[in-house]
Amino acid sequence: MTTIEKTDSVPAPRAGGKGGTPLLQVRDLHVEFHTRDGVAKAVNGVNYTVNAGETLAVLGESGSGKSVTAQAIMGILDMPPGKIPQGEILFHGEDMLKMSGEQRRKIRGRKIAMIFQDALSSLNPVLSVGYQLGEMFRVHQGLSKKEAKLKAIELMDRVRIPAAKDRVSDYPHQFSGGMRQRIMIAMALALEPELIIADEPTTALDVTVQAQVMDLLAELQREYNMGLILITHDLGVVADVADKIAVMYAGRIVETAPVHELYKRPAHPYTRGLLDSIPRLDQKGQELFAIKGLPPNLLKIPTGCAFNPRCPKAQDICRTDVPALHTVTEQDGAELPGRGSACHFWKETIHG
């Protein structure tokens, strides 16, 4: 379980994993929402794998399906209107979509935990943080109220909340944003789960606090050797903590790569656009690049490659054929491990 194979398996959806069964495998996942205006296809065939101790960053704009995928994994999608028409979510090789509600509930919180973006609205405003933390132990481990409270204090110490003992009875609104997010992290860590899904954990925070929270998360992940799915739209956050990246667009993964490879040589025009739109000091004075157009309407995803209306490289084939996730190779044909690009013109993009 401890073999960390950073480069394993990402592009190949059917790969079983060379070092035993991977912790989590998402296979060809589809999610749609039935709304008044039609069917919104939020996720359209996502594949990814996370191993123990590994950090996968899922990158994309809002509406790209990154959060919906996470919610499907957690089993907290609102169904209806949500629906999973096809796909598998394998946890230790077992399809969670086929499990009973009770089986899934026992995994939630204990084996897979989630950290949400906005800690203020994600914590119950009328219950003390100590109660909400202790609830994990009381429900999953049957501890008494008193024991649970001690555990809660311990957890708060663990995520470095000062004066934990005095603050355990305080309510969420009495904490600062950074402290609240630490409480969210503590809650996710409570039962030492094998996998943590962090959905934009730092987006709502001040820049100075962002780094602290991110460091804490990374540190705890290393310590417990957990798998981590980090959902973000912030390329800056990813670089420091992630092992590999999956870039999502319109409910599909458009590029996967080990983290530094992606920055160096993007193999998809969308990724390239994202990287180019980061402001850089050495380009001061120049106009900032921005990807043209708007994210696609999920009720009416463009035919062919969903990115084609905004893509500078779009040709006729892009408007008709959906590109598969191609294995990315060097110019001489040598495979680049862990790399894939869903672009008809990935060669031109990476090598051109």
């Binding site: 919180g109 204990r110 994600s122 309510y171």
Partner: protein, 307 residues
């Protein structure tokens, strides 16, 4: 908390004075209690003058009001025109109405919250629609119509219950009148609970509770219900006062000699001291109920407590 209570109590004083003054002015300045006592007979002017003097009616309105309030604080609500002490009437009327109100409130709590919770959880399903339509109908039918319909069918036609309540009513006699009295509020409580449940079901913290792997019963009982009931508790609390004053119609139909009955008699017989006395006490009950609700609100919602 203590300072908050004191501040709220102080705020209550001008409201209490303003409200009772308006009522007092309506009855004593707009109506002429002495003339009304004699009805169509032409009274002897000397008698009228003496009575006016006895009742302080020859003084300016504000003075009358101050004297009246002064009396009230010594427990003297005056006498009805037939010589009966108003406090005596109150002693009989208020316990009866309180009993009726408490039964009505219990119905609101048990049935209203229960139905609201069920329909909120099953939003869009058959039960939900039945509850929505049912409450709409109950809200639409004025209380005196519901009262007569209930009395006609349950008591007169099918003989399930007695059509009116005995002089010293027991709790089970009160159930039908309490249903009629609570009808409107029951429908409101049901709808309010449902709306609140539906709204909170979409809240982020509820998603967190599910993600924590809590059993459904706990998610609903601890996280959903606790938050959803805050506005409902507020409504029910304010309703205690409203029901006591609103019992006029119900008490009339079922011949219950409570506050509403006495008040209506006072109005019909032009008995000004009874009317003003009863309304003053009702206003006080209403204001106190509001105060208790505010305090309860602070207990239930910590965000207010420390604000």
């Amino acid at each position: 908390m203590g300072r908050y209570v004191i501040r709220r109590l102080l705020q209550m004083i001008p409201v209490f004075l303003g409200t009772t003054f308006i009522i007092f002015a309506m009855v004593y300045a707009l109506g002429d209690p002495v003339a009304q006592m004699f009805g169509d007979r032409t009274p002897d002017p000397a008698t009228v003058a003496r009575m006016r003097h006895d009742l302080n009616l020859d003084k300016p309105l504000v003075t009358q009001y101050v004297l009246y309030m002064g009396n009230i604080f010594t427990g003297d609500f005056g006498e009805a025109f037939n010589g009966q002490k108003v406090t005596e009437l109150m002693g009989e009327a208020f316990p009866t109405t309180l009993q009726l109100t408490l039964v009505a409130i219990s119905l609101e709590i048990v049935l209203g919250i229960g139905l609201g919770l069920l329909s909120g959880l099953r939003r869009g399903k058959i039960l939900d629609n039945v509850v929505l339509i049912g409450t709409l109908v109950v809200i639409s039918i004025p209380v005196f119509v519901i009262g007569y319909l209930a009395q006609y069918f349950l008591a007169v036609k099918w003989n399930w219950v007695e059509p009116s309540v005995s002089a010293d009513p027991t709790i089970d006699e009160m159930i039908l009148p309490a249903f009629v009295l609570a009808g409107l509020s029951l429908a409101y409580v049901t709808r309010l609970t449902r709306t609140s449940i539906v709204e909170n079901m979409r809240a982020d913290y509820l998603r967190t509770a599910v993600a924590k792997g809590l059993p459904r019963r706990r998610v609903i009982g601890v996280h959903l219900l606790r938050n959803s009931l805050i506005p409902v508790v507020t409504f029910i609390g304010t309703d205690v006062g409203a029901l006591m004053g609103g019992a006029i119609v119900t008490e009339g139909i079922f011949n219950i000699h409570g506050v509403g009955y006495q008040l209506l008699q006072g109005v019909v017989r032009r008995n000004s001291p009874t009317v003003v006395g009863f309304v003053t006490v009702l206003v006080l009950v209403f204001l106190l109920a509001n105060l208790i609700v505010d305090l309860l609100y602070a207990v239930l919602d910590p965000r207010i407590r420390y604000a």
